[in-house]
């Protein structure tokens, strides 16, 4: 079974930004602390913005709730 890190690297390697949104969200959800979570949420949010993915709204709200945007 591939790790999240492997899947992230694979998605980056083929520039699969739609997948990166989900993978970074998953990384945020499993992060050990809020700073790490917001780091990953930021990446998920940026790729969602770029892709026009409606998930960007939810991701923005999560960052906003932590005072990060």
């Amino acid at each position: 079974m591939t790790t999240l890190q492997d899947r992230l690297l694979a998605a980056h390697a083929c520039d699969d930004r739609a997948a990166l949104v989900g993978l970074y969200t998953e990384a945020a959800d499993t992060a050990g602390d809020i700073d790490a979570a917001c780091f990953f949420l930021t990446h998920a949010y940026v790729f969602a913005l770029e892709e026009g993915d409606p998930a960007s709204t939810t991701l923005f709200q999560r960052l906003k709730a932590e005072g990060r945007v």
């Binding site: 700073d35 930021t42 949010y45 969602a48 913005l49 770029e50 026009g52 990060r68 945007v69």
Partner: protein, 384 residues
């Protein structure tokens, strides 16, 4: 040295056509003079950049380098065509390196600052430290993309790079009025209706050749059978625009007798009339009852020009074979002009050439263009 452009030579250009000289050699072969004209003529006025059809759909983005400036042509989410400097406000990185569809935001590939298609800075990831996406020192409202003033006319994107020209509609009011019949929808013929010619010439020589009909019987003998020299007239509105018209425009017909549909509600003069004008500085336009064309001259260097040709029709759907035939016909005519503009460019290296003398009867449109260019350069150099 650019500042050494002698004002007296510009004065000689601006004399009445009977005594005027053409622009001297330096305006064609000297890189320093080219740089002066970049500022005085191309950046200070409304220069043609692209066809609006280059970004046909919402979110389409196309990077274009113009006069060495990296620009980004975008059709935003509202359908408005905009031109930005193609750089991130953070580190000046090129934002978009190839034509693409912007699905959501324009993301800088360096640190991922994101911009909307309207140019607004919408995200600055980690700008306040990891996972912190704001910082008091970074006011997003002040750091949107740098927009270049633009205006669409004749399905063409015109830009005023220095931002100081009078509004397009004001500068070109007389031309817009002259061709008000064609102020109606026109449709790009698509991929088979555009082509580019690489020409080893200064961009102004392409304008000059296009403006006048004097050369037609010699360079385009194929036109003689139906479009003789005496069927043409000069158009030279001093300080505004110049070109030529024909009284015997003949519609192209297909093997089956098909013709293109006409533009709606045209005045009777267009039944057999056609006009070919330069929108100063660098856009060549042609109008006829059933199609129009636009040639955007891209000044690549002082001795190299890229001609971007686009053909337009009155209807979004036209006969494929006829459209292809029309493209072939125009391409042939424009290619016939290449040896002329390249030959004149080579000729400009002859030290004895004094800019030349004009035929008062035939060269009015060219002189009109020279007068305009010389006036803009003189103004830029601070002539009284």
């Amino acid at each position: 040295m650019a500042k050494d452009i002698p004002l007296q030579t510009l004065d000689a250009v601006r004399q009445p056509i009977e005594t005027a000289n053409g622009l001297p050699n330096a305006h064609y072969i000297d890189p320093d003079v080219f740089n002066v004209e970049k500022q005085a003529v191309l950046c200070a006025n409304w220069a043609g950049l692209a066809a609006a059809a280059d970004v046909p759909e919402l979110g389409d983005a196309k990077p274009i380098e113009f006069l060495g400036i990296p620009l980004l042509l975008v059709r935003d989410r509202q359908g408005q065509v905009r031109v930005f400097q193609n750089i991130c406000r953070h580190r000046g990185m090129i934002l978009v390196s190839e034509a693409k569809k912007i699905e959501g935001a324009i993301r800088c590939p360096y640190h991922s600052w994101c911009y909307s298609t309207e140019g607004k800075l919408v995200s600055t990831p980690h700008v306040g430290g990891p996972g912190h996406n704001t910082h008091d020192a970074i006011d997003k409202s002040l750091l949107g993309l740098i927009e270049v003033r633009s205006h669409i006319w004749f399905e063409t994107v015109f830009i005023n790079i220095d931002g100081n020209a009078a509004p397009f509609e004001e500068v070109h009011a007389d031309l817009i009025a002259r061709w008000s019949d064609f102020d109606q929808p026109m449709y790009h013929g698509g991929a088979d209706s555009t082509f580019t010619l690489e020409v080893k010439t200064n961009w102004k020589l392409a304008v000059e050749n296009y403006c006048e009909s004097y050369h037609l019987p010699w360079v385009h003998p194929g036109l003689n059978s139906y479009s003789r020299l005496e069927d043409h007239y000069n158009i030279d509105e001093k300080g505004k625009f110049s070109g030529q018209g024909t009284l015997v425009y003949r519609q192209l017909t297909g093997d089956d007798g098909a013709v293109f549909p006409d533009f709606a509600g045209l005045d009777e003069k267009w039944t057999e009339g056609g006009e070919y004008l330069t929108v100063y500085p660098n856009v060549l336009l042609g109008v006829q009852r059933d199609h129009t064309f636009v040639i955007i001259l891209e000044p690549v260097t002082h001795e190299q020009t890229r001609e971007h040709i686009h053909l337009y029709y009155a209807s979004p759907q036209t006969n494929d074979a006829l459209r292809a035939k029309n493209t072939v016909q125009w391409r042939g005519i424009f290619e016939e002009d290449v040896f002329v503009v390249e030959g004149m460019q080579k000729g400009r290296h002859s030290p004895g050439f004094d800019g030349g003398r004009f035929s008062p009867a035939m060269d009015g449109p060219t002189h009109c263009f020279h007068d305009w260019v010389a006036g803009k350069v003189a103004e830029h150099l601070g002539a009284p």
